[in-house]
């Protein structure tokens, strides 16, 4: 009910699959790509939070969508759209990290070290917050893609530019690492 109140009139593209929307976007339908942005904005942003701080992740997420829209002709019709989008996002995140390392940003004394967006951060579950803080960027990304975005292992491997076995090992280690801290996780869940 609340979703009907908050959202505008029914979107004709809301029932289409990601692949159908990608095909329509290839033909120049910007509204179809708008629907893709609406669906995947938060997922992309949360995925990028494993690599970048909050403010940068939003910038990179926006750049990822813009890049995907401008290069939509490179999307192969019929292939899954989400892995393609996440691959673009990940590569932009790595470029951003390399750019930050090269520039070696030195903050002014009166500014905080970490970037702080004036807006509220994304809603993050405690388990995911714990995983983001404790796991490596790639391990968190693999967990996010497989368990939150429901991508199969093959697609996760393609996004992360690794083979399937490496992804399975990464997921296994991430699960074991999280289970070791299960006591702490239960504390974070109760708080």
């Amino acid at each position: 009910m609340l979703s009907i109140i908050t959202q505008p009139a029914a979107n004709p593209y809301s029932c289409a699959s990601d692949e159908e929307l990608g095909s329509l976007a290839r033909k120049g339908r910007v509204e179809a790509f708008d629907e893709l942005v609406r669906r995947h904005w938060a997922g992309i942003n949360r995925f990028l939070l494993g690599y970048l701080p909050h403010g940068s992740s939003e910038d990179v997420a926006q750049e990822a969508f813009l890049r995907a829209f401008r290069k939509i002709e490179l999307y192969e019709e019929g292939k899954p759209f989400t892995p393609w989008l996440f691959t673009i996002a990940r590569r932009l995140a790595l470029n951003a990290i390399r750019g930050r390392n090269r520039r070696r940003e030195v903050p002014f004394p009166d500014r905080p070290v970490e970037e702080q967006s004036p807006e509220e951060p994304l809603c993050f579950g405690p388990l995911w917050q714990f995983a983001k803080d404790r796991l490596s960027a790639n391990a968190y990304a693999a967990l996010r893609l497989h368990y939150a975005e429901d991508l199969p292992i093959e697609e996760v491997a393609r996004v992360l530019d690794k083979n399937k076995i490496a992804v399975k090992v990464m997921l296994h280690r991430a699960r074991r690492r999280l289970s070791k801290f299960s006591a702490q996780l239960k504390e974070t869940q109760t708080t």
Binding site: L2, S3, T6, V30, F33, D34, V37, R38, W41, A42, G43, R46, E58, A61, Q62, F65, L66, F69, R70, E119, E120, L122, C123, F124, G125, P126, L127, W128, A131, L143, Y147, A148, R175, R176, L178, S179, S182, L185, Q189
Partner: protein
């Protein structure tokens, strides 16, 4: 078996992992539900959607080549100088060597004129425009390696440069021992033989007249 595994903690760890994974999935679903209801996310999405409709930023795109100066690029001048230095001493009518003849024999899509005529043109300060045409904008976005050859004769010039920079080895010839060397070795051997003979000759002579005085 299960009891044994449970006693060593195997099932406990897998059960913990299972609980954690289930928790992760539940949280992911809750996050998506919250995103649907959140006006904050709508605002951010609208911002991105409006950015899609904005014209592309100028600075992020590379400058189109058509707006650049049509003056000869520096690398073209350098290459022209190299070619002039390589071919200038030779008379213009002289054909290239058989090794480099393959260059003119190569099927080139650039022009039907031989390379020597291009070099002559460079030597006289004439730069055929066909070799230095500025590529179109589409070259930047759709670079295809075979197309580059149509604009700039990279391959024949590169192979020519390679040929000039790596001179061929002279034909192998085994060195012959000259007569004076043999003569020296022979003389030395003769001297040694004479010394030995001269040194031992008196000993040999003395052995003949040496009477041991052994009577049987």
């Amino acid at each position: 078996m299960k009891r044994l595994l449970r006693s060593i903690g195997f099932f406990a760890s897998t059960q913990k992992e299972h609980e954690i994974l289930q928790g992760l999935r539940d949280e992911a679903l809750r996050e998506k539900a919250d995103d649907q209801l959140s006006p904050r996310e709508d605002e951010r999405v609208e911002r991105v959607q409006s950015a899609l409709r904005a014209p592309e930023d100028g600075p992020t795109r590379p400058l189109p080549r058509a707006k650049q100066s049509h003056a000869l690029p520096l690398w073209g001048l350098g290459f022209a100088c190299l070619l002039v230095l390589a071919f200038y001493p030779k008379p213009p009518t002289e054909m290239p060597s058989p090794r480099t003849g393959g260059l003119t024999g190569e099927p080139s899509l650039v022009a039907s004129e031989p390379l020597v005529s291009h070099v002559q043109a460079f030597a006289h300060g004439i730069f055929p425009p066909a070799l230095f045409t500025i590529p179109e904008d589409s070259w930047l976005t759709e670079v295809k390696p075979p197309v580059i050859d149509l604009v700039i004769p990279i391959r024949p010039l590169a192979s020519l440069y390679e040929e000039l920079s790596s001179p061929s080895l002279p034909s192998l010839e085994f060195p012959t021992i000259s007569d004076p060397t043999l003569y020296l070795y022979r003389e030395e051997g003769t001297r040694l033989r004479n010394d030995i003979q001269n040194g031992l000759a008196p000993v040999i002579e003395s052995l003949r007249i040496f009477d041991l005085g052994v009577e049987g």
